[in-house]
Amino acid sequence: MNWGENYVNFLSDPDFWNTLQVSLVYAGLTVVLELLLGLGMALLLVRRTRLNNFISVMLLMPLMTAPALAALMFKLMTNPNFGILSYFMQVLGFENFRWGSDPSTALLTVLMVDIWVYTPFMMILLLAGLRSLPTQPFEAAALDGVPRWQQFWRITLPMLMPYVLTASLFRLLDSIQQFDIIYALTQGGPGDTLMVFQVEAYLNFFQSTNIGRSTALLIILWAITFVLSNLFIKNWLRLRERARGEI
């Protein structure tokens, strides 16, 4: 195969476009959902009390679990014979809910594991950001009788934006390179439902010994990561300057 032929072939390769789409959808959904959940949890825990400090430490526990182990735990919990999550679904009236075995629920299943493992990461970064915000703007807004939700939208969120972007960037870079959770749960299936870059590259290298295609996939992944991180960093710098009142 000539130099660059793998890249040219990607243009007309439906498997490649499927991989690109699945990877971006997976990364986008995990970042958005984990951001929303993490922000919600951080807002609930922002007051410095003993209980909140204890809960925030406990909520970090999933982050201590290796993602592949978390995937295997969920594989057991979704087992149709004895899995506790399968049992709950039965109780809720979903007979024979197939989790990762069904293309229509496979993405939901791996998202669930990813969210369980990584939401605490979002939570802890955003909590640190919230607790470091200056108190004067909030005191002034309270004196002026600004409602809480307006304080959130107009003061908290803009000032928190550098933290939101930092946390999102870290998670995005991690999510778009996802391998262990998806491979341990479904090996990229059913069909090609969850065939993300890293799984496709792994199978190409180790199973098909197609080292050229595998490398080309990883180079494309690197390029996507590079572009996305540049976009994020530029925005992060702009927002930081704005937060400092420099622009």
Partner: protein
């Protein structure tokens, strides 16, 4: 060893007395069965040293890359005899199967000389051989200076031996006269039925003898037993889903994976009418009577569900049924075995998986490594493993003919020996040998998943698969 015991064992090894006389004689001398086996093994090691200079590589060391497997356990249990026989030292790394082939690929693709020999499957050598990562073992097998005259290469079951040999031409016949012997068979698996006799009895189901009967039996067994599913077959998105029961049934019905034109070009054969009819039945069987999480089932889940009493039968590797009938498994002692011909003609033609040994092209001392290879795949070690360990299924006819082994298996594994004997003549690799094997079969498995999930109708799915296969073959210059 005392002289009396030694002379008894030597007489047995020389063929001057049969097994019953040996056992009786040792019993009279107060030797237990275990002690007798050990004596026998030592005597056999001495016997194979008689006509060949096993010590020619004395003092040398080799290193092996091994998969965690009962075959490996049997070899390690006998390794001291090899060291004593040859004066060689053997070190090894053992990895679980989940990561084993990644290690092999990494070692070979980086041309590492760390490992002299390794375990492999025959399918893998379709990549390793043409890439120049493994040697053609014929060079050693045919060399009377390097190979023990008692090695008896043709004692290896023909279908198994030939399945490890390929001439490297895409579509080339396995075991042809110009084939390279890319690996040496060590142990192998036929794909047949292992079933829970109690569950089938309870549901009033006879052991099925055709694909139609299998569908019916699986459905009845499932409805006749609470909380189980009817049949276990693999379903993960992997080439390994295609090669066991699926391809065995497919091939038995006369279907093939690829056409070979007169000019040697390959094209997909999965979308014929016969293939579509077969796929329709297979998919229905999984939808009606398979595991709810079938698409994540590897050999492990298929086996352990049978052993745990969660499935009534499996159409998979016979040795899975063997291992699930012992140990701590809930269903230990309740499993039985039957040969299976999907066509109903009573002549099984199972596709096979062969755990083999291969020498790395990058080994620094291939002749010394061959000493180990011929010992590990020799009759004496085969007998040791089969009689005393779980070295099933052996690849040598002489081991299958051994009364001690047959008695042991027949006693604890009802129907197993008969199943093997009936199936062995037709047992061989049924795939077309070609370098895109893993790509095409993995895609086949992914298509099967889509069909079972009703994402795509069967005929349409197979047409799409055939188009994709043809395109890949053309891109690779094979079609």
């Amino acid at each position: 060893m005392h002289e009396k015991e030694k002379s008894l064992v030597d007489a047995f090894v020389r063929g001057q007395m049969d097994r019953r006389e040996l056992i009786r004689g040792l019993g009279a001398l107060g030797v237990t069965a275990t002690g007798g086996s050990a004596l026998l093994n030592m005597a056999m090691t001495q016997a194979i040293a008689a006509d060949f200079d096993w010590m020619q590589h004395s003092g040398k060391s080799i290193k092996l890359l091994l998969n965690k497997h009962p075959y490996t356990d049997a070899m390690l249990a006998n390794l001291d005899n090899f060291k004593q026989l040859t004066g060689m030292d053997v070190s090894y790394d053992i990895f679980p199967e989940d990561v084993y082939f990644d290690k092999v690929t990494a070692a070979l693709s980086s041309r590492s000389s760390e490992y002299d020999a390794f375990m492999t499957g025959a399918y893998m050598t379709w990549t390793y051989g043409p890439a120049g990562w493994v040697v053609d073992h014929n060079e050693w097998i045919m060399d009377s200076h390097k190979t023990n005259p008692a090695y008896n290469w043709t004692d290896m079951l023909e279908g198994v031996r030939k399945s490890c040999a390929w001439n490297g031409r895409p579509g080339g016949e396995l075991g042809s006269d110009d084939a390279m012997q890319w690996c040496i068979p060590w142990g192998y698996e036929q794909n047949n039925l292992s079933y829970n006799a109690g569950m089938l009895d309870k549901a009033g189901v006879d052991v099925p003898t055709s694909l139609d009967e299998l569908l019916e039996a699986a459905a009845k067994a499932q409805s006749g037993n609470e909380g189980i599913y009817g049949i276990g077959v693999r379903g993960s998105r992997s080439w390994a889903t295609i090669h066991p029961g699926f391809l065995s049934a497919y091939a038995n019905l006369g279907e093939i994976d690829l056409n070979i034109s007169s000019d040697g070009k390959l094209s997909a054969a999965m979308n014929t009418d016969g293939s579509k009819a077969f796929h329709a039945k297979w998919v229905k069987m999984i939808q009606d009577s398979g595991a709810a999480d079938w698409s994540s089932h590897t050999w492990y889940q298929v086996g352990t569900d049978l052993g745990a009493g969660k499935s009534a039968m499996i159409y998979d590797a016979d040795i899975l049924g063997y291992f699930m009938n012992g140990g701590d498994n809930a269903m230990a002692g309740q499993l039985a075995y039957a040969p299976f011909a999907a066509s109903g003609n009573g002549t099984p033609t199972p596709n096979i998986w062969i755990w083999s040994l291969a020498m790395s092209k990058f080994s620094k001392d291939l002749d010394a490594t061959w000493n180990f290879m011929q010992w590990a795949s020799g009759t004496e070690h085969g007998l040791f493993g089969a009689r005393q360990m779980d070295f099933v299924n052996p690849v040598r006819q002489s081991v299958w003919d051994d009364p001690m082994f047959r008695d042991r298996i027949a006693k604890n594994y009802p129907g197993y020996v008969d199943m093997h004997d009936v199936s062995a003549p037709g047992a061989a690799i049924k795939f077309t040998a070609q370098p895109l094997f893993f790509d095409l079969t993995t895609e086949w498995a992914a298509t099967l998943q889509k069909m079972v999930a009703k994402e795509v109708p069967i005929a349409e799915g197979l047409d799409q698969l055939a188009d994709s296969v043809d395109r890949q073959l053309k891109d690779a210059g094979l079609g």
